[in-house]
């Protein structure tokens, strides 16, 4: 015998179904584990390039006005490669789970991340104009962390954790001396992404 359900209970239950389904559907479910690992490897290559091209020629610091444009060039290239890797991996993943990577939700994700990237570009230009390269690694980590945290609002929890980890790493890097800047870039942009990629792969698949 089935129990009678009052209109109130049914309304509450339907509101719960709506909320739960909308939350599940809003998650950016095209995340790919491979993209995290690839981005981490690209970042490690960028750290190596920075060491070879910049750190051996200049100090990454206040006394090296020529260092920052080179540093920015290497990492802008890394960013373009990383975004391309992310897009391609997510496109493959999206096809596998039956979604489009270029969707209205994808556009929201890109728009959410944009202000932090613009902030990083403006700060890089400002630091470059004043010949202050010392703190740029920490600033980039902070801005990247803010961008990822914003993306995390539309996505799975590991994305938010990644964003917070970058913000914390950025804050710590700002307090550290010159010799720790590149190792921190390797740990954050390389290590964090690889750990994140493996976490995503275990949760959502490669």
């Amino acid at each position: 015998m089935s129990a009678l359900i009052s209109p109130l209970d049914e309304a509450r239950e339907n509101l719960r179904v709506i909320r739960q389904t909308m939350e599940r559907s809003t998650q950016y479910s095209t995340l790919s584990g491979w993209s995290g690992v690839l981005i981490g490897l690209i970042a490690l290559a960028a750290v190596w390039a920075t060491y070879r091209v910049v750190a051996l020629r200049h100090d990454i610091g206040q006394t090296a006005p020529g260092a920052l444009p080179t540093l920015a060039g290497i990492w802008l290239t890394a960013l373009i490669l990383a975004v391309s890797a992310e897009f391609l991996c997510n496109k493959i993943r999206a096809r596998r789970v039956g979604k489009h990577v270029v969707s209205r939700l994808g556009a929201h994700v890109a728009i959410a991340a944009l202000p932090a990237f613009l902030g990083a570009a403006v700060l890089t230009a400002f630091f470059s104009m004043h010949g202050l390269a010392l703190h740029i690694c920490g600033i980039w980590m902070l801005c990247y962390g803010l961008a990822i945290s914003a993306v995390g609002l539309f996505s799975a929890r590991p994305v938010t954790y990644l964003g917070v980890a970058f913000v914390l790493a950025g804050a710590v890097t700002l307090l550290l001396s010159l010799s720790y800047q590149l190792p921190m870039m390797a740990i954050a942009f390389g290590g964090f992404h690889i750990v994140y990629g493996v976490a995503i792969a275990r949760r959502h698949g490669w």
């Binding site: 009052s6 309304a11 709506i18 389904t21 599940r24 559907s25």
Partner: protein
């Protein structure tokens, strides 16, 4: 104590519930499409945890009611159907949500 007019408001709200949306699977489909704006059959099936046949029946009902639109294409020679909510579907969903909220409010006033 029962507030004056609360039972009639509750009755009116229950009566105003859209019968097309007022079904678990169809409500799930509309909620998913309202959130993601666009989804394909496989995504809806995985999100709602329903069988192909069950999902097909309810998608057809929503499409017949003019609440969703389907777009069929071929991806790697395989049929691929994508669904989007129509303006009528969006309005019906918001109206349904409003009716549910009025039921909760009316029941709260009546208790």
């Amino acid at each position: 104590m029962v507030a004056e007019g609360a039972p009639s408001a509750l009755f009116a709200s229950v009566e105003s519930l859209d019968e097309i949306i007022h079904q678990k699977v169809r409500l799930g489909i509309m909620s998913a499409l309202m959130a993601s704006q666009e989804a394909d059959f496989r995504f809806l099936k995985e999100t709602l945890n329903v069988t192909d046949g069950n999902l097909s029946i309810h998608l057809t009902k929503l499409e017949d009611a003019g609440y969703i639109l389907s777009r069929k294409e071929f991806v790697r020679k395989k049929p691929h159907t994508t669904y989007t909510p129509t303006d009528a579907g969006r309005k019906a969903f918001h109206d349904y949500l409003g009716a549910l909220e009025r039921i909760v409010q009316a029941a709260g006033q009546g208790s």
